[in-house]
Symmetry: C2
Subunit: 278 residues, 2 copies
């Protein structure tokens, strides 16, 4: 049995940066520091941080003793940032710099008079944060459902983890509806590279194992991509989920992982596979 | 034999306007008035104007006795406009208002710091005129040959008679090369409607006859579209070119025509077909 591990699997720049910030705070043994939402979409990493005293909260009304808040890598809505500052809490911003850029472009497009169209998943925290900068006439589209009625002049920003193909399709669709379109392609490079490598890998293996948070959008994208290529695909969070039956008839197995999956989990998965597969 | 004539065949708004201007000048019997280039891409109309004393010239050095110049519907390069004015000739501007708009956007994009990408046919006078407004780093792309290296920030304008499908493809391609893209979809509505009706018609007839100047870009587009649908297609300028053999086995024949084809030629073609086809 041959096991291939994607070179692009695991932490991207923004996630690594956010985790470094959070663990640094943990090392300083500061009290009453929380993360706003899970800092990244990986329950195992969030759990490790919790054990070190950095706990996620979903609302600033949840705790009374807040001293500082670490902002999740996906960013938070503008109103919440303002509320955090107005309450005098320290804000430790671990928002991915690429998400910050997308927020900036959403704000700029709105200021320039464009109706902002955000391509992404409506309920994803990154998209929620982008919405808060995009003005009252902004809309979210996901590339799967039909486009809404749009104004003549639209500006597009993209959730950083969307596939380029979806942007291409949405852009083609908007061409029929709007006369002036300004696009900031805010898809981050590591997303594109990871999707490309995963696609190439999935085409040559018998089984794909995708490792990462079940709540991770980009990990789910990887799973969907492999499934679309009709290769048996399993999305797991940790090595303990691997079943011997998956590997039985496989000569070659591919492992890929989302941007929020830590290296130690990927190594565990590979090791467990070798143990089971013999 | 059933003959269908496309409702969208023939003069568009901009061509009708230019022809009205030119024939009005002819009626005024003014002397030493020329058109810069053929006013529209239809040799038969240009010939009718010539007989009324309005002759096309290709260069302002061609004649010594110029009093006034009618600017062709496709527009002319900025430098030539300036030269005409500096020589004190009267300029009668019959440029299509939609082409004027595209010129304006090319200029605006350049001013805003975008590398201007013009989608169209490099040697077409409309594209030549757009180029003159688009700045020194502007490039022309045609959707068929690979895209050149582009800057990070590009602005797209489109020759008014290009098909939307080509714009979609070019836009998808530029997404890989540029991070910020501003598109003015300057394809004129009548082009889109004509292409759509022609496509629907070509799908249900046995033979398509496309009427219009051999030098007309949008007529050639119609021909190419029909050919791509694998229906026998004939591009003619006048009724005299129709051959009986084309109609022999056809139950239904479709007639469409470019934006620069006058109604009298379309009527002639239909009449001649009925005469031949019985």
């Amino acid at each position: 049995m041959k096991i291939l591990v994607a070179k692009t699997a695991g932490f991207c720049f923004g996630v690594k940066r956010a985790i470094d910030i959070a663990f640094q705070i943990a090392r300083e043994k500061r009290k009453e520091v929380y993360t706003f939402g899970p800092i990244i979409h990986n329950p195992q990493v969030v759990e490790r941080l919790r054990k070190k005293g950095i706990v996620p909260i979903d609302s600033i009304d949840e705790k009374k003793d807040i001293k500082a808040l670490i902002i999740r890598t996906h960013g938070i809505p503008l109103k919440i940032s303002q509320e955090i500052l107005s309450r005098g809490y320290e804000m430790i911003d671990a928002t991915c710099p690429f998400v910050k850029k997308a927020q900036h472009y959403a704000k700029l497009l709105n200021k320039e008079g464009y109706q902002v169209v955000i391509l992404g998943e409506k309920n994803h925290p990154e998209v929620q944060s982008l919405m808060s900068y995009a003005g009252s006439d902004a809309v979210v589209v996901n590339g799967a459902t039909p486009l809404p009625k749009l104004k003549r002049k639209i500006g597009i920003v993209v959730q950083t983890t969307q596939p380029l193909e979806v942007l291409k399709n949405v852009l083609s669709g908007t061409l029929k509806l709007a006369k002036e379109i300004k696009v900031y392609n805010t898809i981050c490079n590591s997303t594109a590279l990871r999707l490309n490598e995963t696609e190439r890998m999935a085409r040559k293996v018998d089984v794909m194992v995708v490792v990462g948070g079940k709540n991770s959008a980009n990990t789910t994208q990887l799973t969907r991509l492999c499934e679309a290529l009709a290769v048996p695909t399993y999305h797991i969070e940790t090595a303990s989920e691997i079943r011997k039956a998956w590997l039985r008839k496989a000569n070659t197995i591919g492992i890929t992982a989302g941007a929020s999956t830590p290296a130690w989990i990927i190594t565990d998965v590979e090791k467990r596979m070798r143990d089971i597969g013999g």
